[in-house]
């Protein structure tokens, strides 16, 4: 019996950003791709979402910056990054030579700073922008992401500043993630990604203080949050018609498939990159094999949209 490939793996996130396949790597878990170049064939990825990039270089938070929890990890990196100028001049030219689309994740403190960053990134090598309005580890890092109106205003300004596909990364630390998603959709986002990390804490009984510095909290990621992220993606899916990029705890092909059922159009592998540099490629291969075995034309055929959640 002859077996033809049925699957079209590409995912259109809008405004010209056509991912070659739906499995990308999450911001902050893959650097700018360079560390992985020798470990895996990064050109096979659906997309690389870069480390959160800020207007100026940031040294990051004092250590300890990571702590392990049950099936999860907390981080408080504090957006340690070389700044948008370095990314634009030193990294983007290298991205331009890659087959894998590179989406630059951008974080800033004010609307003006976001806009400036986006203007600076209107260059070759930047395939899209992921707007991080949800980083829990810098002061005010969550203001935009936790207020639908503020998020809408920010996205409106960013929309005017970039011709790139604009993906807004949503915070899960909200009462109604669907409302934030609707606000950024109305303001002109091309897609949303869900979710960023959950605010968590771990205590060091030896010191009698939280393990992480500052206010003691960090962002929880990893398998522990997968059920929460799935529910968030389902809620976002029910709220908007934009493409949704699902992220949270994906380590196996089956995890990614769960996100497609919950309503995702594409996914990102995050924390799993730390423990298995080839995780995203293995997830991709497994997802494609499943799709072929089930003769799917598109992964979105798996979707089973649950009823919208009450606000």
């Amino acid at each position: 019996m002859s077996r033809e490939l049925t699957l079209d793996p590409r995912v259109d996130l809008g405004r010209g950003l056509l991912l070659p396949n739906p499995v990308g790597v999450a911001s902050g878990t893959f650097g700018y791709g360079f560390e992985f170049e020798h470990l895996v064939d990064i050109q096979r990825l659906g997309a690389i979402y870069t480390k959160g990039t800020t207007p100026l270089p940031r040294a990051g938070n004092a250590p300890p910056r990571v702590a392990e929890t049950a099936a999860g990890m907390l981080n408080s990196i504090g957006l340690h990054n070389p700044g948008v100028e370095h990314v634009a001049t030193a990294y983007a030219p290298r991205f331009a030579g890659w087959r894998v689309p590179v989406v630059v994740n951008v974080a800033a403190a004010t609307v003006e700073e976001y806009v400036d960053c986006l203007r600076r990134l209107e260059i070759d090598g930047v395939a899209g922008i992921e707007l991080n309005i949800s980083c829990p580890n810098i002061a005010n890092g969550l203001d935009f992401g936790r207020d639908a109106a503020a998020a809408g205003r920010l996205v409106q300004a960013c929309r005017a500043a970039t011709s790139r596909c604009l993906i807004v990364k949503l915070s899960p630390n909200v009462t109604d993630i669907g409302a934030v998603a609707r606000a950024v959709e109305a303001a002109g986002a091309d897609a949303v990604s869900a979710v960023n990390t959950y605010i968590g804490m771990k205590v060091n009984l030896g010191s009698g203080r939280p393990v992480l510095p500052g206010r003691g909290t960090g962002g929880l990621s990893g398998p522990a949050i997968k059920p929460l992220a799935l529910a968030a993606v389902a809620a976002v899916r029910a709220a908007v018609s934009l493409p949704v990029v699902g992220v949270g705890g994906i380590a196996e092909p089956a995890d990614a498939l769960e996100f497609f059922v919950a309503g995702a159009d594409a996914v990102q592998v995050g924390t799993a990159n730390f423990t298995e540099p080839g995780a995203a490629i293995r997830v991709l291969d497994g997802v494609v094999a499943y799709a072929e075995a089930h003769r799917l034309g598109r992964l979105t055929e798996l979707r089973a949209v649950p009823a919208p959640q009450p606000a």
Binding site: G60, R65, E68, F274, T275
Partner: protein, 291 residues
């Protein structure tokens, strides 16, 4: 004044490989030390003294992260790791059986530096800081250097066995110290440094608790310039998310040519010029360890 170099180096990730090995033996040493050896041909071939591997400690998502361990020694295609049961990860590693799979990501990090000059290598190992030195001492000997290991621990039982340092090489001399005086010098291993840091020493390599390393850094700072070895390096620790420079989790305070900043323990370390580390700031940081 002759100054030891304090520029941090960067690890070479082009040699790193994610490899599934097989456990050869789990040896219980005295004092709770465990020596785990596994067939890991690529790691064995590529690792440099002072480098480490990220070991997966179980199949499930608990423990989630791999754990960093220095490569203690290499014999053929077998690599060994030395550790103590301090938490879930080390408990699970210690419970492995011959034939079980063992996933290693490595070699990672910077290794120790051997300057071209002939002379002696002085090794200072405190507690589990012994781990990188069987391999490092053997490498220095093979490169024709004399090696002195100052080996300290809380008690005699917790000293890494000297014959395992030597691995049959008589040119490696081991001098011991214990906090309780149950073997060798009674007191800190750093007490022994002054007597052994003479002009013949071309490299000083250290690994152990931060206070020990800070004491050593102070001694280096105060030492007679003529006695300073051209290499003085310490291997440090930090909680690690990845081990290869991506999570940015393993920051350590340094003050090298680029000023006061955070360096990554996994790629700019774990072996750093001892004078490049900002020992004062490090002391003030909250403890990473959860007790």
């Amino acid at each position: 004044m002759r100054r030891v170099p304090d520029r941090l180096r960067r690890s070479d990730l082009t040699r790193t490989v994610d490899e599934r090995g097989e456990v050869v033996a789990v040896d219980e040493l005295d004092g709770g030390l465990v020596e785990l050896s596994a067939r890991l041909p690529l790691l064995a071939e590529r690792t440099l003294p002072g480098q480490f591997a990220q070991l997966r400690c179980g199949p499930g998502p608990v423990p989630l992260l791999r754990r960093p361990f220095s490569v203690a020694w290499v014999a053929g295609d077998v690599c060994a790791f030395v550790f103590e049961r301090v938490g879930e990860g080390t408990r699970r590693l210690a419970a492995l059986h011959r034939g079980d799979p063992l996933d290693s990501l490595g070699p990672l990090g910077t290794g120790f530096t051997l300057p071209p000059a002939a002379g002696r290598v002085l090794i200072v190992a405190g507690g589990l800081g012994c781990a990188p030195f069987p391999l490092a001492a053997c490498w220095a000997r093979r490169s024709g250097r004399e090696v002195t290991v100052l080996s300290g621990a809380a008690t005699a039982a917790r000293l890494y066995p000297p014959e395992r340092y030597r691995r049959g090489d008589g040119g490696i001399s081991v001098i011991e110290a214990t906090d309780d005086g149950s073997r060798g010098h009674r007191g800190l291993v750093t007490d022994l440094v002054e007597a052994h840091l003479d002009a013949s020493v071309v490299a000083l390599w250290a690994c152990g608790p931060n206070p020990m390393l800070a004491t050593l850094a102070g001694a280096i700072g105060r030492a007679d310039a003529a006695l300073l070895p051209s290499v003085a390096e310490a291997s440090l620790e930090a909680p690690m998310g990845c081990g290869f420079g991506t999570c940015l989790g393993c920051a350590l305070p340094v003050d090298d040519g680029d000023g006061r900043r955070w360096a990554l323990c996994c790629t700019e370390g774990p072996v750093m010029p001892i004078t490049a580390v900002d020992w004062e700031r490090l002391r003030e940081l909250p403890p990473a360890h959860v007790a």
